[in-house]
């Protein structure tokens, strides 16, 4: 397992240049093997989150080690994003109703969310933890566009760790 994050680092804000890691569980929901290119592609589902705040880890607070994000999910893969690129996902995302009328605007941000105490099973102390949020929270359609955008950005950067079945 990777070393503990450096608790002396500042985590008040996430800089645009910062890299964040996202764990991709070893489940075909979250990736697909492209038979034409031979590549393992990230699907938008890799960023799905039931609270619509996909979790990431700040690279600089976990010694730039994607294994920190993999944690004890040894079968999982890890991908990365550049914070500035996430914030630049053509803000704001517009949500519309069934008739195409604009309902709201949603700004995308990456915010620190260090976990300093364990509050639920499956959690760990994680000063590197951050969340990708939309403000106000994006409803279904707008959130799904965000997921597609995140997957496309992550795909461009490639895998840091592939899911276990696809490792060399």
């Amino acid at each position: 397992m990777a070393e503990m994050a450096n608790p002396n680092e500042s985590f008040d804000t996430v800089g645009n240049e910062e890299i964040v890691f996202r764990r991709v569980e070893n489940d075909p929901f979250f990736f697909r093997h492209n038979e034409s290119t031979g590549e393992l592609e990230i699907t938008h589902q890799a960023f799905r989150d039931k609270y619509k705040k996909p979790s990431v880890d700040r690279s600089q607070l976990c010694n730039h080690d994607p294994k920190w994000t993999q944690w004890d999910h040894g079968d999982a893969g890890v991908v990365s994003l550049v914070t500035g690129e996430v914030r630049a996902i053509e803000p704001p995302i517009i949500s519309r109703d069934n008739r195409g009328r604009q309902v709201d605007r949603h700004d995308i941000d990456v915010v620190p969310d260090p976990i300093t105490e364990i509050q639920a099973p499956g959690e760990r102390i994680n000063p590197a933890h951050a969340q990708i949020i939309s403000s106000p929270p994006a409803p279904g359609g707008a959130f799904d566009r965000l997921l597609v955008a995140l997957a496309n950005l992550a795909q461009r950067r490639g895998w840091l760790i592939k899911p276990v079945d696809y490792r060399d």
């Binding site: 492209n34 799904d144 597609v148």
Partner: protein, 239 residues
């Protein structure tokens, strides 16, 4: 072929729509729909009776086009109803199979496109679809289970799309199955940096196409795509 070109030599035919007979449509999907769709079901029942019996009380046959529709079902508009049923008769006369579902009707040519000709292309996808509810239930990243009506609609949609793709000479590609976590079924395809996603709920088909990460200028979306739009989307992805 255009559905807006009914026979001009049709003599007056009156189609009596048995309003209130929606209950005779033994399809659970309709139970989840609103009054408008119940009316639609009644219309479908009338149409099916004419097709199955060959004649109606007014002497209509599938080769004929009604010129008057009586008793427009509750919740539907007279104009729309007449357009719909005229279109259905036109397709029937031209030898299409007609599949009337909750919010519209799909048409397939009978000849050379029997279900068994398409089934091999879809067999694996449909089998995977049936396993989806259990997979979603077992994965705690999703909050909502797949809705049973949505699953049935998704099965119909996939079969319909598969037939359409084969009918137009395109190649079928197996979809990636998932859910957008609102009880829906999601079908997704990717090709050369492009993404096409359909989300099937109990009542609607939503689609999202993306060709980049810019949500404003590189994505588009819509609801309940027509026949032509489905083909257009498929050709956009794989063309």
């Amino acid at each position: 072929m255009s559905p807006s070109a009914p026979a001009t030599d049709a003599f007056p035919i009156i189609l009596d729509v048995p309003v209130g007979s929606a209950g005779t449509v033994s399809n659970d999907e309709y139970k989840a729909h609103n009054r408008q769709l119940e009316g639609f079901a009644a219309l479908a029942t009338a149409f099916s009776l004419v097709l199955s019996q060959g004649t109606s009380s007014s002497g209509a046959t599938p080769a004929m086009v009604p010129t008057q529709v009586n008793s427009v079902p509750t919740g539907t508009r007279q104009e729309q109803t007449e357009q719909d049923i005229t279109k259905w008769f036109w397709y029937a006369r031209e030898g299409f199979d007609i599949d009337i579902h909750g919010s519209g009707a799909w048409f397939y040519p009978k000849r050379g496109l029997a279900h068994e000709n398409v089934a091999p292309h879809l067999e694996r996808s449909l089998a995977s679809l049936m396993e989806l509810p259990a997979r979603v239930k077992a994965n705690d990243i999703f909050e909502n289970e797949i809705d049973e009506v949505a699953l049935k609609s998704a099965s119909k949609f996939l079969t319909h799309l598969g037939r359409l793709i084969v009918m137009t000479g395109e190649q079928w590609h197996e979809p990636h199955l998932s859910t957008e976590d609102r009880g829906d079924v999601e079908f997704a395809w990717w090709h050369r940096g492009k993404t096409l996603i359909f989300s099937i709920t109990a009542t609607d088909v939503h689609y999202l196409q993306a060709w980049g990460s810019n949500v404003r200028s590189e994505m588009d979306e819509g609801i309940n795509p027509t026949h032509d739009k489905l083909i257009e989307l498929w050709r956009w992805l794989y063309g």
